[in-house]
Symmetry: C2
Subunit: 202 residues, 2 copies
Amino acid sequence: MSIEQSILAILSFWPSTGYDINSEVEHKAAGLYWGMSYGSIYPKLKKLEEEGFIYPIEQEEKGRKKKLYELTPKGWEEFENWLRLPPAYPKVKDELLMKMSTWHEDIESSILIGHLLKRKETTEDLLEFVKGWPTNGISYISNFGMLSIRYAEIRLEAELKWIEESINALEKNQLPKGQDPNKNTEKLLARRREAIQDEKGK
Amino acid sequence: MSIEQSILAILSFWPSTGYDINSEVEHKAAGLYWGMSYGSIYPKLKKLEEEGFIYPIEQEEKGRKKKLYELTPKGWEEFENWLRLPPAYPKVKDELLMKMSTWHEDIESSILIGHLLKRKETTEDLLEFVKGWPTNGISYISNFGMLSIRYAEIRLEAELKWIEESINALEKNQLPKGQDPNKNTEKLLARRREAIQDEKGK
DNA sequence: TATCTCATGTAAGAGGTTACATGATTCG
DNA sequence: CGAATCATGTAACCTCTTACATGAGATA
C-alpha cells in the first residue's frame, strides 16, 4: 500500500532512475525495511509522473539514455503528508518461526539446527553491513537515518543471541518446557503415527 | 508461497475448521509469525482437499454445521517435507523505519515521536501477550514452540529498548551523527525549499 | 430480543513478483 | 573481446485482502 510513497521517499534524497531505486532497495540501507522489484518500479514511476508527483530531468546526453526523476512541489507535499500519517504496525511472515512453532519430536532436530545456522549466517552478514554502512566514508545517512540503523543493529544482535540460545538448547536437548494441559503433543504424535500406519497398510 | 503449508502446519496440531484457522492467526501465537484471511483460507482448504492433503471429518450433528479438516497421510508427508526445507529469510516491510530513514529537519520531530509512542503501545501489548501465553493454563505450546515464543520476547524487548532510546534522542535533540560526505542534507533541504518557492511563485 | 460469536463462502481487484526482451557502456 | 554492470520496460501470473452475503446458536 505504499510502494508509491516509498519511491517518493527515495527520490527525496536525490533525483534517481528506476535502476537507482532498485539498487537502493537491493543493496543499500532502504532494503533493510522495504522491498520492491522492477516490475513494480517502472510502472509506478510512469503513474507517479502522470499524476504530477514527479517529472523526468532531461539529460544533456552523456551518451547513455536514462531518465532521472525528481519530485514536483506536489510530490514533496505528498511525501511529507505520508511521513505524518501513522505507520501501520509491521506484518511479520517468518517461515523459520512458523516451522519451529509446529516442529515435533519425530523430525530430527539436527535439521532445525541447520535452519538456524543458515539464518545465523545471513543475520551476521546483515549485521556486518549495518555496522559498516554509516562509516564507509561514502554513503549518505541522515541523523534520523542513524536511528533506524540503530534499530537494525539492536534487532539483529537480539536475533543472534536467540539463535545461539536455541541451538544450544537443541543440541543439549534442553528445550524450555512448554504448556500442554490436554496432552496435545502425545495426541499429535499418535495421530501422525496412525496416519503413517494407514498409509503402509494400504 | 506457503499459506498452504501454514494451513497444514496448523492442522497438524489438531483438526480444525476454517474459522479455527483464522482465529489461530488472528488471536493466537501463530499470528506472531504468520498472517492470512478468510479470502485465502477457504479456497485453500478446498484446494488442499482436492489435492488429497486433507479431508473433512463428518460431524455427528451438534446442531451447528461445520467442517473439521484433518491431515491425510499425504498431508503429513507434505507438511514434514516442508519443515525440512530451508526457510526463506524473512522480508521486512516496516513503514515506521522507512519513514524514519527519510525523515528530515523541516518536519516537526514531535510527529515522529508520536509514531514511536504508538508503536510502543502495540509492542507492549504484544509482549504482554507473549509473556502470558505460555502460562495461561489452557493454550498448547510444545517445547519447540517455546523457542519461538522466546524469540518474540527477545525481539520485542529489544524493540522497546530502541524506542525508549530513540524518543529520548529526539526529545533532547541529541540524535546520533550520520554520515554526509556530499552535504546531502543541505542539498535536500535546498531542493525542497526551491520546490515550495516554485509552487508559491505560480 | 438484540447482539455477539461461530461459521462458510465468493467476487472483485489491489498489489506484487518472475521472467523475459533488449541494448549500451564499462572494465578486466 | 567477453563479462559485468547500467538501463528500461512488459506480460503473465500469483497471491492475498477487502468487502460482502448469509445464517445459526449462544449470551446478556
